[in-house]
């Protein structure tokens, strides 16, 4: 499997990154090298091997569904780049 510039463009779009032509070229080369190295994993037969997502054998860690206080809004807004009327402000989503 080889990655071409158009694949890098597609992945960049999925990852919400803008890349310039130079970066596209660099990432194409570097990702190819890394993925070529990763091909090594295909030397191993893993047909009957379960995947490990996690080393602790935990599943569905639940807590009681109790009402709790949220973070105070004025504190939450301290780091917001833009705000209005106690809400985080962003550019229009719909034109």
């Amino acid at each position: 499997m080889t990655i071409h510039v158009k694949d890098v463009e597609h992945v960049a779009k999925l990852a919400r990154l803008n890349l310039n032509a130079e970066e596209e070229q660099m990432f194409t080369e570097q990702l190819n090298a890394i993925l070529q190295y990763a091909e090594k994993l295909n030397e191993l037969n893993t047909d009957d091997v379960e995947p490990t997502t996690h080393v602790l054998h935990l599943s569905n860690v639940m807590r009681e569904d109790e009402v709790r206080d949220s973070l105070p809004i004025e504190k939450v807004l301290l780091n917001a780049p833009d705000e209005e009327d106690g809400q985080i402000k962003v550019p229009a989503v719909l034109e």
Binding site: L17, I34, A38, L44, V55
Partner: protein, 485 residues
């Protein structure tokens, strides 16, 4: 000999007998920082005013009979991916250069309960991605043993600060070796606990199935104290293990007679520097002289670990770092055309190259059509690597080998080739994938640069690792060496 060459217990004795005050300890830290920090560059943010007022409060308490915390009065540095309320936390990224957390990480709350004094926030590779601290978007940290060399990474600031005497102890985080490898390069003790032992709440996530917080200290006993203070179940972290925490300090008996040590031949093979191997062999002879036995074993899937790790860690990172969108916190790009453009511009301006590279790799590995070939395959190989460890631990108490294949490398020498850089972690990554605990302890020098011995234990058996490292340290002098700064 400086104040920070004293062991924790010695410092506490001197505090009790009024030979020392907490303010003296804080003076010591800032004295060294003023003298050395312009060369070492371990810190990103200093918190001197708060440190001095905390020291005063603790000195007042010292005069009273109230019970004192486990880490009472000790100046601590915290890696800058661990959130601290009201104290800038950047992950060494331009994206978070203005970020002031509104809550403390659980480990920070625990340090406050243990009454240590936070000195500042420590440099790192951006979002903990890297092994040299050269990926910090602010400035690289330098190795106190030789300023032309890297301190390792990603917790390079945490290791360099302890080595330079600019903090009594520090916290780092380890995903694929980020505590152990810099500890090895800087000649200090670094412990990565078992996955789940220390809460990750408030640790900015890189690869959630691997990340763990742990201590970096000058000696093993201090590492046991810091671990004692930060370990434990936390309901705020759903991957926190609900187990009883043993008394790590009482585990330091000095007795390792009859201990069964496994030495993986893959950790002593080609690619490992001969001087590093020699230090490890000499260390094994020390352990043998103390009554332990060692045998060569095999961890046959070691050579696949780096490939599996980069796919898994990058995939998890691509998902975790999706939250940095310029909306709720962090630096938002100017003049976006619309919301989508705001995401794109903010992320492109905010992230450095290595972070983008891993987001790209992870997004690709998780994208439609490639998931089975890369991500799922890597998870299956992770199972094989974990089994290697299970099999060895069925017969042996601990595994011993080098922490890193070489000593520290020259600043700038590996930046052009990400793959070469990734291979520095070849001996720490398998341990991370298996989720087991490991510690790096100084075990020698090669051309003036420290070598680290990696001691790997069974899940949640930090006690044995600490006992072995402590016995080793008590019979060697490497940890007493100090850089000439």
């Amino acid at each position: 000999m400086t104040l920070f060459d004293l062991r924790l217990q010695e410092i506490h004795n001197k505090l009790r007998s009024k030979e020392l005050s907490v303010s003296d300890l804080v003076d010591e830290a800032f004295g060294k920082i003023n003298e050395r920090e312009d060369r070492v560059k371990a810190y990103l943010t200093l918190d001197e005013e708060q440190a001095r007022s905390t020291a005063k409060k603790l000195d007042d308490k010292l005069a009273s009979n109230e019970p004192k915390g486990l880490l009472f009065g000790l100046p601590a540095g915290i890696k800058d991916n661990i959130v601290t309320e009201g104290l800038r936390t950047t992950c060494a990224s331009q994206f978070l250069s203005n970020y002031n957390p509104i809550y403390d990480a659980t480990v920070v709350t625990k340090l406050k309960q243990a009454e240590s004094v936070t000195i500042g926030k420590l440099n790192m590779d951006e979002f903990a991605m890297g092994g040299s601290t050269e990926n910090s978007s602010f400035y690289p940290t330098r190795n106190p043993w030789n300023l032309d060399y890297v301190p390792g990474g990603s917790s390079g600031g945490s290791a360099a600060a302890v080595a330079a005497g600019e903090a009594y102890f520090t916290l780092g985080s380890d995903t694929g070796g980020s505590i152990r490898q810099p500890a090895s390069y800087c000649g200090v003790v670094g412990l990565k606990p078992t996955y789940g032992l220390v809460s990750r709440f408030g640790l900015v996530a890189f690869a959630s199935s691997l990340d763990q917080i742990g201590p970096i200290t000058k000696n093993v006993e201090d590492a046991a104290y810091v671990l004692q203070a930060i370990a434990g179940y936390d309901k705020m972290d759903s991957t926190s293990a609900n187990i009883e925490i043993p008394d790590y300090i009482s585990a330091l008996t000095g007795d390792i007679r009859g201990l069964r040590i496994a030495v993986p031949k893959e950790y002593m093979g080609e690619g490992v520097d001969p001087a590093v191997k020699e230090s490890v062999m000499a260390s094994l002879r020390v352990l043998e002289s103390l009554g332990a036995e060692w045998e060569e074993v095999s961890l046959p899937h070691t050579e696949y670990a780096v490939a599996a790790y980069y796919l898994l860690a990058s995939s998890e990172a691509s998902s975790n770092l999706a939250r940095f969108d310029g909306v709720r916190y962090g630096v938002r790009a100017d003049n976006p055309d619309n919301l989508l453009d705001l995401y794109h511009k903010s992320r492109s301006q905010g992230f450095g190259s290595e972070v983008k590279r891993r987001i790209m790799l992870g997004t690709y590995a998780l994208s439609s059509g490639y998931y089975d070939a890369y991500y799922l395959k890597a998870q299956k190989v992770r199972t094989l690597i974990k089994r290697d460890f299970d099999e060895v631990f069925a017969k042996y108490d601990i595994i011993v080998g080098p922490t890193a294949p070489t000593t520290a490398f020259r600043i700038g020498s590996q930046v052009d080739n990400p793959l070469t850089m990734y291979l520095n972690d070849i001996l720490t990554i398998p341990v991370s994938l298996a989720g087991v605990p490991a510690l790096s302890v100084p075990c020698g020098f090669a051309e003036g640069l420290p070598v680290g011995l990696q001691i790997i234990g069974k899940p949640f058996d930090e006690s044995t690792i600490l006992r072995v490292a402590h016995a080793f340290e008590a019979n060697t002098e490497h940890h007493k060496q100090r850089p000439n700064l």
